[in-house]
Symmetry: C2
Subunit: 414 residues, 2 copies
């Protein structure tokens, strides 16, 4: 990052200028103590981009937000409204009508066209979304909107997350003297979580001046290297959504950052840092996780192969249970690599676990088991793989598989 780029303590979706937020209990959940609706409002209409789940069973709010972004996944937005508790997925035309109504109610209160409201939902699949909670919740959230409301908003979108996920980075660039820019955001857990719960949702804002088409390109790049590299249980949910809004409020009256410029690169770096941070928080807070697991693959023949290899290792239940058991069981990693579809020869493979060489030339290397056990005490387990087949590399984040995962996911839904 360029000079002065830094994470902001307690930063989040309202760290950037031009945005206010709130989280309220609207009534999607029974517990009145539990925030269940988040509202993020921009002071002025601003550039907006979105990325969405590729799942064929995509939820109604995903379809409606895409409509509002005019089919190109970028455009203009004033507000984002998110509810937790009900996913509005597998609900057909009635679900799409509910998602459109959710936007309309919000638009009427904020005072903007309904198409300038982005919507997202997370929770139980197959239940219809009631509109009454929006009718009381949106006015309440509007009253509560504040420049420090990011934290409540982050809490309101949680499902089985054990804590809210927020991050923000500020940066300066020489060509915009006197300006400090900020990218900040919030996210909720990856994977399909509690019985019937769905979704990763993230809302990111910036006060840098970026046009919506450039914003979209930057968002797609950043998401591909962050949220799309997180896997908790290999599930791509029905509701996965990430929005990025740019107010330009930190450099009012100045020209927009041009793609390819130094300032645009600085913005992209800040955005990537925020997305990576949120993605790691998601993986570390996977259901029942006791460890964040980072899988680094190098020496792949192509980017596609690097992704296949890292993803297959990160999704392997055998690798994930071995980590829960503090077992430097590289045979399971090798097994996953071998079935991943990535091109390599077994005699070219090296594997390190927590910096300990465990496999060289595809064969076992004696290592200090006691030292390995000590290193497994770390909250982050790092696996380094070199396929010896090329120069492509990637990083994937996941978590281990514990008894708690089975308890969370095996509980009776009733």
């Amino acid at each position: 990052m360029t000079k002065e780029a830094a994470f902001i303590a307690n930063g989040g979706v309202t760290s950037a200028l031009g945005f206010r937020a709130a989280g309220v209990h609207a009534g999607f959940r029974k517990n009145p103590q539990r925030l269940d609706m988040a509202l993020v409002v921009a002071d002025e209409p601003c550039a907006c981009a979105g990325t969405f789940t590729q799942n064929v069973f995509c939820a109604a709010p995903v379809q409606v937000s895409k409509e509002h972004l005019d089919g190109v996944s970028y455009g203009t937005a004033r507000a984002v409204v998110v509810n937790s508790g009900i996913a509005n997925a597998a609900t057909g035309e009635q679900g799409r009508e509910a998602a459109r109504a959710m936007a309309r109610i919000t638009a009427e209160e904020v005072g903007c066209p309904a198409t300038e409201v982005m919507v997202a939902s997370t929770g139980v699949i197959g239940q219809h979304l009631p509109l009454e909670p929006f009718e009381t919740g949106v006015p309440a959230a509007l009253d509560a909107l504040s420049r420090s409301g990011g934290h409540d908003a982050a809490c309101a979108i949680m499902t089985t997350d054990t804590h809210p996920k927020e991050a923000a980075v500020s940066f300066a660039v020489e060509s915009y003297e006197g300006c400090t820019f900020t990218v900040g955001g919030m996210a909720k857990g990856s994977g399909m979580i509690m019985p019937n719960m769905a979704t990763m949702i993230s809302v990111i804002t910036t006060d840098a001046p970026v046009r919506s088409d450039a914003l979209h390109e930057a968002l797609v790049n950043a998401v591909n290297k962050s949220f799309n590299k997180v896997t908790v249980d290999s599930d791509t949910s029905t509701n996965d959504t990430c929005f990025l809004l740019a107010s330009g409020a930190a450099a009012l009256g100045k020209p927009a950052f041009q793609p390819g410029s130094a300032e645009f690169a600085a913005f992209e770096q800040a955005l990537q840092a925020v997305c990576n941070n949120l993605a790691r928080q998601m993986a570390a807070d996977g259901e029942g996780a006791t460890r964040l697991v980072t899988v680094n693959v190098a020496g792949a023949a192509s980017d596609v192969d690097a992704d296949k290899a890292a993803r297959t290792v990160a999704n392997s239940p055998l690798v994930k249970t071995a980590i829960t058991g503090h077992d430097a069981n590289w045979g399971r990693i090798a097994g996953a690599l071998g079935r991943s579809g990535a091109a390599f020869r077994q005699e070219d493979v090296s594997i390190d676990i927590m910096g300990l060489a465990v496999c060289r030339n595809g064969m076992t290397v004696p290592f200090d088991e006691d030292e390995a056990l000590r290193r497994f005490e770390d909250p982050e387990i790092v696996i380094d793989i070199d396929l010896g087949a090329g120069r492509a590399a990637t990083t994937m984040w996941t978590c281990d598989f514990s008894h708690e995962y089975i308890t969370i996911n095996g509980d009776y839904r009733t």
Copy 2:
């Protein structure tokens, strides 16, 4: 099947004429009560075919058995020797030498060329295979060979299997009057099982007269619709191997079954029945399994799509934990279908769980939750999916994910 085709009570790898077998404690495992080496010997050299793991990290015995089958995966064999305890995987050239020695020691005792011995190993990855146990174990097994030795052989190849897996079917065909033919076999658990344990291994024999090239084609077809449709934890191991030997001893002096003939079709049906039965036993005995899970997909646009859809559902940790929790959670099934890569529209999808309609037109259908809970008491859970996108169909077998799975796989290796 044709007339008189039937499963044989307590049938196994020595049910077919022309084969004897034994299982002994050779010393690969410390517990002297535990059988750890199986030997199957044909009275005469006979036709043999093999199918093997596609994993890039394929084990030394897989490489050597392929050499012995002359690169075409079919040829002639007299004996199959299998050890459990050590997989001889990720062991490089030294491992290949050990696998060749394992065949040579067996060949010397049996009195045949080393290339007529097929080898397989299962157990810990990355450890070198000692030869001493073969030097004492093979003569002991030869002494113990019998027409009723199939059960001991099936016990000797077990790793974390909770019971041996055997099946045999007999059949008659009009054109071979007076002859009764048999196909029988044994198998051990699918998936990568205990810490560092690998492998599904199956040895099947028949006394039908089938040439080795036709045998290979029949084996590939049968394996694709049985063992290749089993998934415990999505892992294809380093050592997966299936051998099929045909002695022709039930119709000595008579011509071989010709592919395309009625008798060949009867043989293929019997082979499929044995493979399906063994495959279902494997899935039901998956690590920590409390339920056999059968996933039927119909209405797919192609065979490839049917396989993708069924495999993604069967491998979904969320689906598997829901079954452990007796939860008719079709949203997780829909989520898995939607990310499977199979082509369909969500509004065309129907899902039944244990015969209860839970999803029609991609939307939820009210069902009796108490009745669903009652049906979940069944030892086999059946999921029926219709994608409404075509006419292709398939069946996949798996098991649920229980706490026991985490305990088995999360245990310290040390």
